[in-house]
Symmetry: none
């Protein structure tokens, strides 16, 4: 019914940001279902009512929080990648892996959480599928400029992304016993290089 307030004042914007970051933090730590709106409000230092004046419902907080986070991080990633797009491919890949690991290090459980929510919730699925597609497209354009052009590039890039994120998970949260991170990283890097140049 009522259109949600568009924050025009600084305080408002800050509060909305605080709700988003609190939501993001708690969703990552405890998951969507174990985080309740009162907690989010408390953590953001606002009332429950305030939360609902900025967001339609809990799901909207979730979407906005992850959207904003991914926007931010992938924005920074592409900034870096664009600067190194003319490097020789091995250096470009090295850089890609390194920057990705740095930037997404803080994601913690965020991406795994998101993957799960995408499976459970149609609306969230639609929203983030589009976002992911954009992400792939940008990567393709970037690699094209670097001289990498193949019919099956989409599939190759997808494989690369899977591997890089496996690396990130290993680094941050999900470390497997008996798995040496540096060796793993070395393997991932060289596999990516082969995929893109082989």
């Amino acid at each position: 019914m009522a259109d949600k307030r568009i924050p025009v004042q600084r305080r408002s914007i800050e509060r909305k940001q605080k709700i988003l970051s609190s939501g993001f933090k708690l969703f990552c730590e405890h998951g969507y279902y174990k985080t309740n709106t009162i907690e989010i409000a408390k953590h953001a230092g606002v009332s429950t009512g305030a939360v609902y004046s900025y967001f339609k419902d809990k799901r909207e907080i979730y979407i906005a929080a992850f959207d904003s986070y991914l926007e931010e991080i992938s924005g920074r990633l592409f900034e870096e990648l664009e600067q190194s797009q003319t490097l020789p491919l091995p250096d470009f890949v090295e850089n890609w892996v390194t920057v990705y690991l740095e930037l997404y290090a803080a994601s913690g459980h965020a991406l795994a959480q998101l993957r799960m929510m995408i499976l459970e919730d149609e609306e969230i699925n639609r929203h983030f599928s589009d976002l992911e597609n954009e992400y792939f497209m940008k990567l393709i354009r970037l690699l094209n400029k670097n001289g990498v052009e193949r019919a099956d590039l989409m599939e190759r890039i997808y494989t690369c992304c899977i591997l890089i994120d496996a690396l990130r998970q290993e680094q941050s949260s999900f470390s497997h016993i008996g798995l040496n991170f540096l060796i793993f990283k070395e393997q991932v890097t060289s596999t990516i290089l082969q995929l893109l140049s082989g």
Copy 2:
């Protein structure tokens, strides 16, 4: 008297199995939080009380359901793999990918769900981390027998598993627009082959 005990026990085991399979099915379809115990009981054709006489709580149903499922499927996987352990590596890998895709096809969202639950719940984490480790160890032993022996085998196998499961997800639930499954499969297979033989 004594001869009646066995049928009762058998019935009991069957019921427990039915609860597990019902739970697994519903958890996969709707996720842990959107599946309630009454539904599980109804689907299994038992009373809610019965469910709680076999399992301490909902989480225990979840753990046991996934445990039993993974046990079953990975058992079958290794049966197949052991039969093809003497094949030339390219055929072995081909077989591995094919059988994995077949067996885990029915998992649907199950494994993604599980990954999420592992992040949210300490107890679930402990349980399935051990299971996964066992799984890797068996694969190592198998590949050793096939003649693949390297210092960094653990990491290589891990990468292979990541890629195969990405393939499975692509096949069952998570298809990305513009991604050709057959090309992707081809790439995964040859990447694995390179990782193991290169």
Copy 3:
């Protein structure tokens, strides 16, 4: 999703009845919006959960409570009226008014509440409009048997019902200063008689 439990045991039926009568009482006393489900549960001596195992939502309690009340009362009214359907019209009318006043005396605010809810809620409207129509039809059939047959009988009966219910309101809840009930009753009775025989 889940179909609501159909009470098969006596205790269940009694509880459902208790919830209905508690709901009816509280809805009449304080109105729909000032009555909350916790109050209804408490008054019925059950938990909030129990209320929702018998009824889908608060509105369903409201509909069922009023439905059951009107069923009961109008059932009794028509029993009486059928017994006096062969009396001379003046006696029949006299009887109608008297019995109606007796039976609906306890309605208190019930009917006024209902009228309001009908205006606010589409579903409640549909439900009770049908019920009211049946009521009119029964009255028409009854008067037909008594020899009252006219083209505009529907309208006349409607007018009669309005007047009788005004009388009931005056008697029970809504007494106006300076209005003599007996005189008012006398007038209503003779007006009805004229409408039906004039």
Copy 4:
């Protein structure tokens, strides 16, 4: 300074009026409980704070809105009736019914809502009972001047009012299936005539 106060006051009066008319409109359309103060403020083009500087609480808006509406409408009704007070009774009654229907047509659910609120809220009850009494008294005085004088006039007038309002409800919101409005109107008019002259 002093000459500015009057425009300010005028603006203030206009705003209060706007709040009242907005409140009335929304209360009629959605009912008291489904209308919120923010909506009223928005519709009136003022801030929520402003609403609370003119009225103590939501209930007071309700009372004032209906008070003002009824004042206005009944004022107009009596103006018309006074002009026709010397007509022969049949014409006077005809006029009464016609004018009432015209004037109160816009009430929609308003009066039914009000009746409900009177039952639920002691303060609203007190306020409008007095108003209604005044209304009856005026009608009595008017009919006295027309030559209608009887001991039981109060009761007769009350009956007339009930019938006329039933007619209005039928016309505006509450139409019953199978009920012909023109026939119903004819009956009401002639019944009123009989009540007042018979």
